[in-house]
């Protein structure tokens, strides 16, 4: 029993401390600029672009970009949650911990998921107000579920990139590319039917794609049965990245002890 409580503490209290220690954007002005203003600007841009090109209506872009807004905190935050250990030279001290690595890193991912969720809700709210989109009340639970799952997926996706950062010198390059690729692969700003088949196929395995679909269905008034499919797919991608990140962290820790390649001190 106390064991379980201790684990909760490691995930909860530990996670919040790690978030403050490692997240570059935890200061208010930076947070507002990078995580609130920018996603809204992006949403506005794509709504106008969409109107010009006439590929889809406002709802398509508003809902899609709101879900995508969850990715920034997750992708970059998750990367920082591991990558910044290098910057501070703290990795050795962390690896000396006798505690469960999964709990330590789960704790690191969750605050970014919460952060991503907050950003997504903010973006959706502001976007709807700006363009006078009136979402029916019964669509909100479905949209909320999509945002929650997407935020978690993005955080674990970021953690996976961060784990790669234990090996790669420039992990920021990787997260920059990953972030931009999400714009294309998720079909948030380009209706996925118009994308080549192989791009769609990759899109099925990245965060946000299925959540965005679910959120759009919800906004269009679909019942829960219809949403369950894409939501379950997004959850599967989420679990996939959670497992992959844990695996990579484990493998790289072990490889680092063998080769002495991890900059542990």
């Amino acid at each position: 029993m106390t064991d379980v409580l201790a684990k909760f503490r490691l995930v909860g209290t530990g996670g919040v401390l790690a978030y403050r220690a490692l997240f570059n954007w935890a200061r208010l002005p930076v947070f507002i600029g990078t995580l609130l203003a920018e996603p809204v600007t992006q949403l506005v841009f794509f709504v106008y672009l969409g109107r010009q090109l006439g590929v889809a209506n406002d709802t398509f872009f508003i809902v899609g970009n709101a879900v995508l807004a969850a990715s920034k905190a997750g992708v970059y935050g998750g990367t920082m949650a591991v990558g910044n250990e290098r910057r501070f030279g703290t990795l050795g001290n962390v690896l000396l911990s006798p505690r469960s690595r999964s709990a330590v890193f789960l704790g690191r991912a969750l605050p970014y998921a919460a952060n991503g969720l907050f950003v997504a809700v903010f973006t959706l709210t502001v976007g709807s107000l700006l363009f006078g989109l009136d979402l029916p009340v019964q669509s909100l639970p479905g949209i909320a579920a999509a945002l929650v799952i997407a935020s978690l997926t993005c955080a674990f996706f970021g953690l996976t990139l961060g784990a790669l950062g234990l090996r790669l010198l420039d992990v920021w390059l990787v997260s920059n590319i990953a972030y931009v690729l999400l714009l294309i692969l998720t079909g948030v700003n380009v209706p996925s039917e118009t994308l080549p088949g192989w791009v769609q196929a990759i899109g099925d395995f990245v965060p946000v794609t299925h959540a965005a679909e679910a959120a759009r269905l919800a906004a269009a008034g679909a019942d829960f049965e219809t949403l369950a499919g894409p939501l379950a797919l997004e959850a599967a991608v989420c679990v996939g990245f959670a497992v992959l990140s844990a695996l990579l962290l484990h493998v790289f820790e072990k490889a680092g002890r063998t080769s002495g390649s991890l900059e542990t001190i």
């Binding site: 409580l5 201790a6 503490r9 490691l10 209290t13 530990g14 401390l17 790690a18 403050r20 220690a21 490692l22 935890a26 501070f88 030279g89 703290t90 050795g92 001290n93 962390v94 690896l95 000396l96 911990s97 006798p98 505690r99 330590v104 002890r257 063998t258 080769s259 002495g260 542990t264 001190i265």
Partner: protein, 344 residues
């Protein structure tokens, strides 16, 4: 439940570690560095043991293996009764690791939050954390400054925070890797006092340093390590015997070259020569057999070079250390051809 088989705090047998590093991508060549070449050690519980050696001797590599951060290439070690390869969790619960320098802390957090996070990581029970942290802040003299961000801490404050972090979980064995590096003399003295107190309260301490005086003041036994191997082990008094029957001459010279020094090295009664650069001048230290005055010979070897003050004295512990370490360098020079740099 694993029962500790021995009462030794540290027992290492034939520890070796080779690093492989790659140069180049297209046509990679591998470089093998034998950082540790067979170290065996037995350290009793409660001992304050010094590992003394020059940069690159293999001190940090040894500590990393003993703290589970690095796997030995061969050999084995038990720390606090547990195997460092098999029982990593048990070892980690029982060791603390503090290294010098100003990295290794979360700059954006306060000192207090750094300790709170590591208290979680090092499994300090929740209800003890508050008192334990307060106690440690008091011990290292950071009480009152704990809410400031580490960003603004001085080198000495960072070092004290490192120490507090290493002690959070009351380790049985504490590893201190050059803890006084870059700390001012007053800070270094306080650090030494804290370390001595810890040892007298029963914590085993393994301290690495390249400051002879620090090792002499603190450590019961000292192992001099150079070139990846222990050259000599014993109390400071015992190590001093290395220079029995020797005298030391120091000369201030201006612009001596390696060739000039080699001429001194070749003199019959000379045991070793070292140089320390002091900007414009150099201090040359010559160890020679007692009974011959080598000053005239040294002056002759340095013909054509301006020579300042010359002093002669009895050897100190520092000289003993240098004798041990430079003795190794001679052997090592002969060996490098065989071990380093495998071209691809």
């Amino acid at each position: 439940m694993v029962i500790a088989m021995t009462d030794l705090a540290i027992k290492a047998e034939g520890l070796r570690r080779t690093y492989r590093s790659r140069n180049g991508w297209l046509k990679p060549s591998w470089r093998h560095t034998e950082a540790v070449r067979g170290i065996s050690l037995e350290i009793e519980r409660g001992e304050l043991f010094g590992l003394l050696g020059p940069n690159g001797a293999g001190k940090t590599t040894t500590i990393k293996m003993l703290t589970t951060l690095l796997l030995p290439t061969s050999g084995s070690a038990r720390v606090a009764g547990f195997d460092v390869v098999q029982d990593t969790r048990e070892v980690r619960k029982r060791v603390g690791y503090v290294f010098g320098g100003d990295r290794g802390l979360y700059d954006r957090l306060s000192g207090l939050d750094n300790l709170r996070y590591f208290a979680e990581l090092y499994a300090v029970p929740a209800r003890e954390q508050r008192t334990r942290i307060a106690e440690l802040l008091e011990l290292v003299g950071l009480t009152g400054r704990e809410r400031e961000k580490v960003e603004g801490y001085s080198r000495g404050m960072r070092q004290r925070l490192h120490l507090a972090r290493g002690l959070l979980h009351r380790p049985e064995v504490l590893f201190l890797d050059e803890p006084s590096i870059g700390v001012d003399p007053v800070g270094a003295r306080e650090l030494r006092r804290t370390v001595a107190d810890l040892a007298s309260s029963g914590t085993t301490v393994l301290l690495t340093t390249h400051y002879m005086a620090e090792a002499e003041e603190l450590c019961g036994r000292i192992a001099v390590i150079a070139d990846g191997a222990i050259q000599q082990i014993g109390t400071a008094e015992e190590l001093k015997h290395r220079t029995d029957g020797r005298r030391v001459l120091t000369a201030e010279v201006f612009g001596a070259s390696e060739a000039d020094l080699d001429r001194i090295r070749l003199l019959p009664s000379v045991h070793g020569v070292t140089v320390e650069d002091r900007g414009l001048s150099q201090i040359v230290t010559v160890q020679s057999a007692v009974g011959t005055d080598i000053e005239p010979q040294v002056r002759e070897a340095l013909t054509g070079i301006r020579v300042g003050r010359i002093d002669k004295r009895e050897p100190s512990l520092e000289d003993a250390y240098i004798a041990i370490v430079t003795g190794v360098d001679r052997d090592a020079d002969e060996r490098t051809g065989g071990t380093a740099g495998v071209p691809g």
